[in-house]
């Protein structure tokens, strides 16, 4: 029964990890850019959701809608006016720019909300259901369902719309996509905006799970990158599978051995997979001409 409890909790938290990492993999797929600010964006969205709840009484699930719109616009503008120019010169400059964004957000959060821990508490935060001896917290069901809905929406967008086809074409081969008439600069801007918007959607959900503080994003970015690498850079399916594996590995490991080993178990698994399959579960080896 204890193992079943761990599996249930692992799958539920894995759903949230998948949402947190999906924007990162989308941005990498389209731009070949590791967005170091991704987790910082998530934490920033957590703060804004906390503030909206505290000041205006807006439920975090409602605030997702507001944040997604605002962050999409912000992300698209950041890509168009800052990152695209830097990428044209040197990809490493854009990478450093995302590091700068992370530091700016962190500093701003510290100034606005202090460095103390915050948590998003709602009226339903305390509810939990139990089926026999297996407890399933309502908040985890909500975050899992919300994550699945958002990820499903993203999947439909990418596979059943012209915009999605253009994004996938740009991801697979930027030059050929351009040759067949895709406005890759515009598509890249939109895709980056979507990636940031997905991160914003994860913020309120994450904030209902865990206490957060301005530089807690450094603890998350490594975990999210590991998920993206294990799943295969740029692969949504891979991100989902890897996130579920990480969630289950963490929760089940803690049941039987010290929690210090939870992350280790995941990374041992990650290294083992990468030795056998360096491109991750669903990644492709990008071959380029010499």
């Amino acid at each position: 029964m204890l193992l079943l409890q761990g599996l249930v909790l692992g799958v539920l938290v894995g759903g949230m990890y998948a949402l947190m990492a999906s924007g990162l993999t989308l941005i990498f797929g389209v731009m070949r850019l590791i967005n170091i600010a991704h987790a910082a964006v998530i934490i920033f969205a957590s703060y804004l959701s906390w503030q909206l709840l505290r000041v205006l009484g807006i439920d975090p699930l409602i605030s997702i809608v507001i944040l997604v719109v605002v962050f999409f616009i912000g992300g698209a503008l950041l890509q168009k006016y800052v990152l695209s120019a830097l990428i044209d010169k040197d990809l490493s400059l854009a990478l450093l720019a995302t590091l700068g964004v992370a530091n700016v957000l962190e500093g701003m959060e510290g100034a606005l909300w202090t460095s103390s821990f915050h948590a998003i508490n709602t009226g339903y935060s305390d509810q939990t259901y139990h089926f026999g001896d297996v407890y399933v917290p309502l908040i985890r069901i909500i975050t899992f369902v919300a994550s699945v809905i958002i990820l499903a929406g993203l999947y439909v967008l990418l596979t059943h719309t012209n915009l999605g086809r253009a994004i996938r074409a740009t991801t697979q081969n930027r030059a050929i996509a351009q040759l067949v008439g895709v406005n890759v600069n515009r598509i890249t801007m939109i895709a980056f905006g979507i990636g940031i918007a997905v991160a914003a959607a994860a913020g309120p959900l994450m904030g209902m799970y865990y206490p957060f503080y301005p530089n807690s994003h450094w603890g998350w970015i490594g975990k999210l990158m590991a998920i993206v690498v294990l799943g295969g850079l740029g692969s949504f399916r891979g991100t989902l599978v890897a996130a579920l594996i990480l969630g289950v590995a963490e929760q089940v490991t803690i049941l039987y051995v010290p929690a210090n080993w939870a992350a280790t178990v995941f990374f041992v698994f990650l290294f083992a997979v990468l030795i056998v399959r360096p491109q991750g579960f669903f990644g492709h080896v990008a071959r380029e001409s010499l």
Partner: protein, 411 residues
């Protein structure tokens, strides 16, 4: 053939940038050249990182001490000037910053950072330069293990004795009311482990079985599986080796989500952060316990001025002062007393004087043994009851005669 366009160059640059950022060098809050008459006091605090909550509280306490001392004309007519850095909760950074404080900033005296985890590596720097090192929060056994004679811990007792009132209270219960199985989830931190190890030894001597004992990393925020394991082990008294609000509040949230409901819940740290504990947990705070070395309403000399000044400088809606601020303030008081008594900042004289005298501070009046352990004080057991933090043990100092609530309300 290349598989990815990402080269090593940006990664190397990123690592360099991250290292530079995490070192915190150049982040001094006060780099101004100080007048010769000022007493320069060096401090490194975790204002960011996983200890940022207690670090900020402690830093505020030091700032209040600086303001109060200077409002009284300084020490022996010399104003105090704090030179402080943010160590980002990283021990290596704190060590390098204390070296910089001594060698570059040439401070006269040092005050310690918050937490045993940061005191242990940095006290060696102070010893290397023969600097007095007064600190208010690092009280684990490892702090005193190297017998440095320059370290002075300003709390009534060392952390092995922090949970003594919990043990005394459980011992006082009739056998049929005592909890029978204890759980000890513990942060990988010397302070937390010292508290938990002492309680475990005492409880096992009383026949309370150990149902769960595991260490978790300082960054742990998800405690649902730990709660599930303790529930399966039928733990009915929780003694959590928590260090910050993050792990204490995260634990309560996780435990409530999986239905782990012990009769008693004691945290090494967390419930005493009065200003944030209720915000983080609301009704789940009810019944949680910890130990207290200082009380906001205390009538010891100097406490009223400290509390009033703190609330003036750092107002908050609940008018609450965190314990870490009082501990830092008390460290400053002890240092000031020694400087005043010895007539200057000769660190050797200050160290000798502190070993020979008892000092009154907001933490009480006590002296130190040769390794800096406080002598003669005790802690109190406190519990959240109806949104108030009450002293519940020993009974002779209990708030308005309140008693510990057992079993605690469900969270």
């Amino acid at each position: 053939m290349r598989f990815l366009r990402v080269t090593r160059a940006p990664l190397a640059l990123t690592v360099l940038a991250l290292v530079a950022t995490s070192c915190g060098l150049g982040s001094s809050s006060n780099n101004a050249v100080t007048p010769g008459a000022d007493i320069k006091v060096g401090i490194s605090e975790p204002l960011t990182g996983d200890k940022s909550d207690i670090g900020t509280n402690s830093d505020n306490g030091y700032k209040v001490w600086e303001a109060v001392v200077n409002s009284h004309g300084g020490i022996n007519g010399r104003h105090v000037k704090i030179i402080q850095y943010d160590n980002n909760s990283l021990a290596d950074t704190a060590v390098s910053q204390y070296q910089k404080l001594v060698t570059v900033d040439q401070v006269d005296v040092l005050l310690g950072p918050v937490s045993s985890a940061l005191v242990i590596p940095t006290e060696a720097v102070a010893a290397q330069y023969n600097k007095v090192f007064v600190e208010g929060t690092g009280g684990s056994p490892q702090v005193f293990a190297r017998n440095f004679n320059n370290v002075f811990f300003v709390q009534p007792a060392t952390v092995e004795h922090q949970a003594d009132p919990l043990v005394d209270w459980i011992k006082s219960l009739p056998p049929d009311q005592r909890p029978t199985v204890a759980g000890y989830p513990t942060n990988d931190d010397p302070f937390a482990q010292a508290v938990v190890d002492t309680v475990q030894k005492a409880f096992e001597g009383m026949g309370i079985k150990t149902g769960y004992k595991q260490t978790y990393p300082p960054t742990q925020t998800d405690f649902t599986s730990i709660g599930s394991a303790m529930k399966a082990a039928k733990v009915d008294i929780l003694v959590q080796g928590s260090v910050a609000d993050q792990d204490a509040a995260g634990a309560v949230k996780g435990y409530s989500q999986v239905g782990f409901q012990p009769k008693v819940s004691y945290f090494a740290s967390g419930p005493d952060s009065a200003s944030t504990w209720l915000d983080l947990l609301s009704s789940k705070a009810e019944g949680t316990m910890t130990s207290l070395d200082w009380l906001q309403e205390s009538t010891v000399p100097g406490n009223k001025e400290f509390v009033d000044t703190y609330l003036k400088m750092f107002p908050n809606k609940d008018n609450l002062v965190p314990a870490e601020a009082a501990e830092a303030y008390a460290a400053g008081e002890v240092l000031a007393a020694a400087i005043s008594a010895t007539g200057g900042v000769d660190n050797a004289k200050i160290i000798s004087w502190l070993h020979a005298n008892k000092v009154q501070s907001v933490e009480g009046k006590f002296g130190w043994d040769s390794a800096g352990r406080p002598q003669g004080g005790t802690f109190d057991l406190i519990q959240w009851q109806s949104n108030h933090l009450n002293i519940v043990w020993p009974l002779n100092v209990a708030t308005n005669g309140t008693k510990p609530t057992i079993p605690k309300p469900s969270w």
